[in-house]
Symmetry: C2
Subunit: 150 residues, 2 copies
DNA sequence: CTGCAATCTCAACTTAACTTGAGGTCAAGC
DNA sequence: GCTTGACCTCAAGTTAAGTTGAGATTGCAG
């Protein structure tokens, strides 16, 4: 028997797509963006580790959280290159995400409270309310729509 | 004195940009998308009502919340066309946004709790954990990356 | 073998949300 | 009444995140 990849441990792109719910094209796109690096079969087809499912799931969660693929790549870069990530590896990276999650929740809660204040006090007069009266708060911070809250 | 717009109550696009923190081009873009409808001066320059500042602030908040401009347009469509929106008008629309906010906070909180569960139980084994094991949960729901959580 | 579904690459298209640039007009101060 | 900065329109460019399609291979099942 020639040196061949053990098919038992490797998954085709279709298989991975089925398991993650991603489309095949999205997975190829992620490879392009270096978010995953599958190996290739003799016939040049992609072969994925089982741990890549986790990697892709992580991408989905992080996106949900509002991270861009670029930011996600940065997080994933913390994972080992060659070997399958261990539980400990994932713990670290999950903790980072968890921090983001906390931040975002806090931010939205703040926004909600401010909004409640506005509705409650009827201050929509535009001259007194912090939330509806961005003036002063933001001003110059470069081009594009600058952030209103937070 | 010919019939002229009272300059005292109307703002130029530059003024509006300054007060909202938006760029001039973004404001023109929003007009294109029918999110605001300024009147025109004799010389064809845009003139905004003071209440348009509120309108634009609302857009910024809603975007922050993850609404697309199209969705925002739908919300804003509830506001009166001709007249300056009243406090009551804004109350209604703010309440809609507040509901979204609640939803989103709840969703993120759920995600956080699940993530905590995963980190805590060390179940990253991929066969037992709901969050890391999308399989079964999602499967077929049309093209594109389907949602993992929620 | 043969067939056919699954893959492959590469280029082009899509949508959202803006920005940039070219070429021309308005209006307010001196 | 001129100059200069703020505006105007319209077309094209940009980034993110994918999708779609063409044309060529691969690989498993019978």
């Amino acid at each position: 028997m020639p040196t061949r990849l053990k098919p038992s441990d490797l998954l085709s792109i279709g298989e991975i797509a089925r398991r993650t719910g991603l489309s095949v094209s999205a997975i190829r796109f992620y490879e392009d963006k270096r978010l995953i690096e599958p190996v290739r079969s003799g016939g040049n087809q992609r072969r994925f580790l089982r741990s890549d499912i986790r990697r892709l799931s992580f991408i989905l969660i992080a996106q949900r959280l509002g991270l861009s693929l670029t930011e996600i790549e940065a997080e994933l870069a913390k994972l080992p290159q060659g070997r399958t990530p261990t539980t400990r590896d994932w713990e670290a990276i999950s903790a980072a995400i968890r921090a983001r999650l906390d931040e975002r929740i806090a931010e939205l809660t703040r926004t909600r409270d401010r909004l409640d204040g506005c509705i409650g006090c009827g201050c929509l007069s535009l001259t007194h309310c912090a939330i509806w009266n961005p003036e002063d708060q933001l001003a110059e911070q470069g081009p594009g729509p600058r952030k209103l809250l937070g």
